[in-house]
Homo-oligomer: 235 residues x 2
DNA sequence: AAGTGGTCTAGACCACCGT
DNA sequence: CGGTGGTCTAGACCACTTC
């Protein structure tokens, strides 16, 4: 990460998390940050923009930059795709692999992944367990030509860390569709709820920076345990 | 709107919606846009940034700027707060006011709105009807010192248009919490579903640009009719 | 009036994609 | 290699808040 504005953003994000600005509820002025980090104003503003987009701070013209109310730690953060492990930091997260194998794309999946019917895919079904209780069921399809290898060990931890740090994939953007349904029998058993109870669903289509879709996933959440948080800005 | 980059962004957004780039699936290069609009590169890049954040396009270094797959029109867009009317453009939206009056903040609401207990609030309960069928129930609280006047007529249309265009409020950011529950009897009747059926819930806390909370709302959606879309970028 | 963020310009150099 | 985005700088002027 040789990029200045990202380094500054990370540095400030760490400071915010560490409560460094909690007294004042205010960040240093742009002027001060420019002097601290010895960069141009644009670079500082780009860094701050990241913090704004991530929901850490808001800016008031003529007044300053302020901390946003802390978000409770137990929400699934829609805006990040860092995964449960990073979202629910105060919890114990465990993962049980229910299925993991390579299969051929059928017509439905091929259309959604925008690939050939018959293309090789990794299929993974996982049960996520939070504080010893079942939390969600996640079904994922990865294009094998982009993710050539996966195993139980990787899938038991953060798949995304593996994709980014080991495979060096550059993840670009995603579409998330949220809705809710009556849960089916099999899933109900896994989540320890009754059949026909509500279930919160997130369907996720994820692309590399070059626009290629590489993953499709569907997560079914325990309706009493899962809450999704999204922070939005209008500028 | 005398701001160049916003004007350019709106212009390009219109062009995209009108399908102007559908053939190429590609936008003009920055160079070309600079010449078209006669502005500096930074200004063009700021405009494009808006399009990226709104999920219209993605950029590939060394290659160009491309259209993202069109999002289906029938989703609730989490990233905008333009309201149902603007999200579900292909639908007929009607609104029935169930309640509208001024009340005093109780302790729970006061804490959430960060105001005094007893502060005057507008309380509004609305039934939203899409294509002649009940779609959602929305309960909103507005601080009366910020929104001094509301009536059935305003609440029957887009409250946000009124706040922005008439009251000149500058909306800054919002926290949205999504979850799902078993629906209660009263709401079930209103939405034409069975009691204990699932319900998709969005709780919304909205702030002005200066950080003041001015609205709290809770929307209960018909579980079979509502789908939420969120487009995310990682940069 | 002073302080602080918002917009805009002009120009330089780097990094990546495709031919 | 040429084309295209990505990062960075330096400086000017404007708009809003605060006192």
């Amino acid at each position: 990460m040789a990029v200045k504005y990202k380094e500054i953003a990370e540095c400030l994000e760490r400071d915010i998390r560490d409560g460094k600005f909690d007294r004042a509820k205010k960040l240093p002025t742009e002027e001060e940050l420019i002097n601290n980090f010895k960069v141009s104003r644009n670079t500082i503003r780009k860094a701050i923009n990241q913090l704004v987009n991530r929901g850490y701070v808001y800016q008031v013209q003529g007044s300053g930059m302020f901390l946003r109310e802390k978000s409770v730690t137990d929400y699934i953060n829609l805006g990040s795709l860092r995964g449960l492990t990073k979202d629910l930091t105060s919890k114990i997260i465990e993962t049980k692999i229910l299925e993991l194998h390579v299969l051929d794309a059928d017509e439905v999946i091929a259309k959604q992944l925008r690939c050939e019917v018959g293309a090789k895919l990794y299929y993974i079904k996982r049960l996520r367990i939070v504080d010893k209780e079942p939390f969600s069921i996640e079904i994922s399809y990865f294009k094998k030509d982009i993710v050539p290898y996966l195993n139980e060990d990787i899938a038991s931890n953060s798949i995304y860390s593996y994709l980014i740090e080991d495979l060096k994939l550059t993840i670009g953007f995603a579409d998330k569709v949220i809705n809710c349904e009556k849960i089916g029998e099999a899933n109900a058993r896994l989540l320890h709820v009754e059949p026909l109870d509500p279930a919160l669903i997130i369907e996720n289509t994820v692309c590399l920076t070059n626009g290629t879709i590489f993953e499709l996933s569907k997560s079914v959440f325990h309706y009493q345990k899962a809450k999704i948080l999204n922070r939005i800005n209008f500028k």
